[in-house]
Symmetry: C2
Subunit: 637 residues, 2 copies
Amino acid sequence: MNKYRVTFLPEQKEVEVEAGTTLLQAAEKAGIQINTLCGGEGLCGECRVQVVGGKARADKNAIGFFSKDELQKGFVLACQTKVEDDLQVFVPAKSRAGEEHIITEGTTIAYSEPERVVLHRRPYDPASFFGPLVSKVYLELPEPTLADNTADIERITRELRKKVGRENYEISLACLQNLAEKLRRYDWKVTATVAWHGNIGRILSIEGGDTTDRHYGLAVDVGTTTVVVQLVDMRTGKVMGVEGSHNLQARFGEDVISRMVFACGRGSLDEVHKAIITNINNLLGTLSQSKNVDTNDITAIVAAGNTTMSHFLLRLMPCNIRLEPYVPTATVYPQVIARELGIQIHPQGILEVMPGVASYVGGDIVAGILACGMADKPEIKCLIDVGTNGEIVIGNNEWLVCCSASAGPAFEGGGSRCGMRAARGAIQKVKIHNGQVTYEAIGKTKPRGLCGSGFIDIIYELVRNGIIGPDGKFTGSKDGKRLTDDDDPRYILAFPEETESGEAVSISESEIANLIKSKGAVFAAIKSLADYVGLKFDQLDTIYVAGGFGSSLDITKAVAIGLLPDIDTSRIQFIGNSSVMGARMALLSAHAFEKAIDISKKMTNIELSNYPPFMDEFIAALFLPHTNSSLFPSVHY
Amino acid sequence: MNKYRVTFLPEQKEVEVEAGTTLLQAAEKAGIQINTLCGGEGLCGECRVQVVGGKARADKNAIGFFSKDELQKGFVLACQTKVEDDLQVFVPAKSRAGEEHIITEGTTIAYSEPERVVLHRRPYDPASFFGPLVSKVYLELPEPTLADNTADIERITRELRKKVGRENYEISLACLQNLAEKLRRYDWKVTATVAWHGNIGRILSIEGGDTTDRHYGLAVDVGTTTVVVQLVDMRTGKVMGVEGSHNLQARFGEDVISRMVFACGRGSLDEVHKAIITNINNLLGTLSQSKNVDTNDITAIVAAGNTTMSHFLLRLMPCNIRLEPYVPTATVYPQVIARELGIQIHPQGILEVMPGVASYVGGDIVAGILACGMADKPEIKCLIDVGTNGEIVIGNNEWLVCCSASAGPAFEGGGSRCGMRAARGAIQKVKIHNGQVTYEAIGKTKPRGLCGSGFIDIIYELVRNGIIGPDGKFTGSKDGKRLTDDDDPRYILAFPEETESGEAVSISESEIANLIKSKGAVFAAIKSLADYVGLKFDQLDTIYVAGGFGSSLDITKAVAIGLLPDIDTSRIQFIGNSSVMGARMALLSAHAFEKAIDISKKMTNIELSNYPPFMDEFIAALFLPHTNSSLFPSVHY
């Protein structure tokens, strides 16, 4: 069989491969990691490379991923292109796997949390913070005598009652089996690791000596698109590090529905389940290495995710979530030994999954409610979490109603050519003034793409400058040099020479239409829910906005495009990834976790699919800012 | 190598074996099961056989097991005797393994319980009986609709709350993982198996359809000498069958101390642990087969045993139990999945071990307190459990004190040549009148030996007839034809021609001395405990006597030899195996199990080894009935 040489640029790495090998396989052989969200099936378009020497053509099924210009320049999908010649192949930064990962590590911008909302106010509140979900307690036990020869375990619980002040303890058999020997070997000085669950303290392990200075936990946000893990010091509540990565389940489908179809049909639940376990293990492995933490000192994980992700995480059958009447297996989950699922922490370490409400209102939303504190006080507030689904909650300390609407991945950087999640190089701020475009990329580098907040900015700027009309179509009147004449015309935000990859960053008319659909769905959901409970927007004390838009969100512009209700913007707060924030609060406070369960039970879910006014609201919202301008009195372009 | 023929009698089974094979191995080859409590190490003397043809001699280390007469008749230990000739060997019934087992199955006399104490009064009390430790509940669930699309597990717990009236439920991950599919396959008609623990119902399994008519549990008494398993119908509380066998741990030592020495020294805890698991599996296997019960329908076990046995059962390190200050690993034990210990019941079926108090006051005693109900009422009562240890409890519904004294195995039929446990052929009643001896063996058969109640009777009859004095020595004055002239003279109760084996049933002076020590230790413990709490015996409302004496106990004679206090005998009740009785009560009533935990916490243990008056009491009690005759005013021989 013929062999060919493939040289990858800019590294100049050369490998010899047999004819018929894909470029993806060749790159692997060369040690170059290329994105393969779809698992190399030609579905995600993430493995774009440019053949700059030798003969290779894009597979005809892959043509849709490229513009005419790109095809002429030799762009192909690495996974769909077979080597039949000696080739020189340029791998753009954007197509490299791990690239985002590495960047995230440095900046963690995407996961930064508004400190004011949580970090100081709540976990340091003694009532909650000093009762983390799992705590380590150092005990110096009195040695037994004939007059005090109570059983070993009772000697421990007696001291725990004194030191911790709680009454009821349980111990696992495994831990009990070697207890006697341990106590004596360590001269009655031991550290008990205790998980709090309801009114019971479950003793997970007894270690010799004082190990209380080594105690860690993980707060995990299992998003449909990305997985974020925070390594938390359980003594101080401090976040020691954070890592994020694409959800490896993407290879089974981009959204929850297609992953359920896979798991319940031609594929297997096991595969999808294992993907997320691998995600978590990878991230916690990286974190523990970089922070020099022994994974055996990680004793607890709280994970928050939507209901489908929570099912995949626990390997619960999710198949009825997608079928009317949308019944999940569970919305409140059992406490699990993390190792039983293959998560590599302390052998007896626990995993708690944040409780949810219904098939489309999950633990991520409950975590968000916990994080923003809206269930603590009598003022009526609103939480809007914009992800692939937009979830809305309205309520206070007495009642909570919620709903969910499919918003698509647009605001998370999905579904468009230049969309990306909020990582280094993502344009997060845009301004167009007198035909001049200025933008700011995360990390102050050359731009690589657009994240959610950037999309909001650009839509606002396009309509304010009359480049698109309120219907989202290009007016053609201005800025001609930035408009392409494709079938689906694109507005070029950054020309190739300005960008890291040498490819333009742009947005097309159909992509704008998608974004309008997304914002329309979110707004229609907010409006429907407010109508359902008979509230006007200005009766909302505060609106919290959560989601992966980026490190900041221009609230005024988000209102101006009709995504958020038109109330005094000082009453709208962007709180970022409230899912991981709530997970961390529960990790640091068993009381907060109990509260999350109470919240989940208290919430009333309104099925929008069963609520006819929603569709009318949706159609009315497919306009900038809205077909009913009286809803947006302050918006004038 | 030479080969020889060995013929076993009375079966006439012949086998050919190589020279040097032991008689035990030869018997195995012939399919004849011979007792080997010590595992064939020549320690227990249980494998006595008689060589009636050919040449074989007792190993010199085994000589101590036989009288001169027996040695002359060709008695040897099968395990210590090598075949070096063609032999004819008679295997007495008493040496046959399984013999007792088979007999027990027919009569179950040894485990019969005074019905009046428990069976009717307590488990059928609705407050306790209708809440067994594990219950099965049949549910016909409403099918989900858009208006009622709560999660599958919530649909189940909602219905459980309605039907059972309890609030809090948990479910194992394993059970949750296939729940969705099961509910739909069985058309929302399922049976939930729920274990009650504290205020929480733990759902162990969900089965399709109505399976409530198949639900069983096991009550287990893990005695040092014998293991008894009752198969219980969890619907009705009825005992469907009972099986008992020798504790297989005997091969590691006869008493708890030598087993601990083995487990903590040259042997391994694992072996001792596995022996008891094998015991339980064997007995439950036999029961489930004979009663046609699927072991997967057995969902719960409650086991009661002394603290050492409980440790062995759960594989907890028992090593400090035997060392001052006698500290066990635990006295209250975690709920365990029985399969995790290798017990072959329902995969999620639970094992609860009855809580104990201290190293030498175990769960068997707490079970006894539960069974006799002495902690229910204000009257002060006393429980005396006579086994290898004698355990005493005094108290009422407000307080309980207890102690333990080493009594030796005499009353359980151990430690003497003709002693046996209460099974078919055991002499349980003896009368001597005008030189005439009459006796009654269990099963009305030819006698095989003496059980505890028989020993009490014979000591009483011997002293009453002046054959022994109050010091336990033969007076030599009467009944000369029944007295042997050995170094350790024996009184022959049944001549060889009267017995099943053709061997006399007798008792020797040193065996009488041992029995007096046993009764002295028990009485001294009762007296010490009564003194400790400042009570005279006649202030005790009732004395309950438990233990493996036999199916009945002559209370008057037990008082007359100074084993039990001299109070009105109508206030002394023999209650048999109260350990398995209490275990069954806990099995049938979660409330009773909780109560057992309360009892165990309430009990104050008095360490007699730390209580100087005990030794004086013990020495004073080494007389018939007692050196202080004013303690036994009603006793006149």
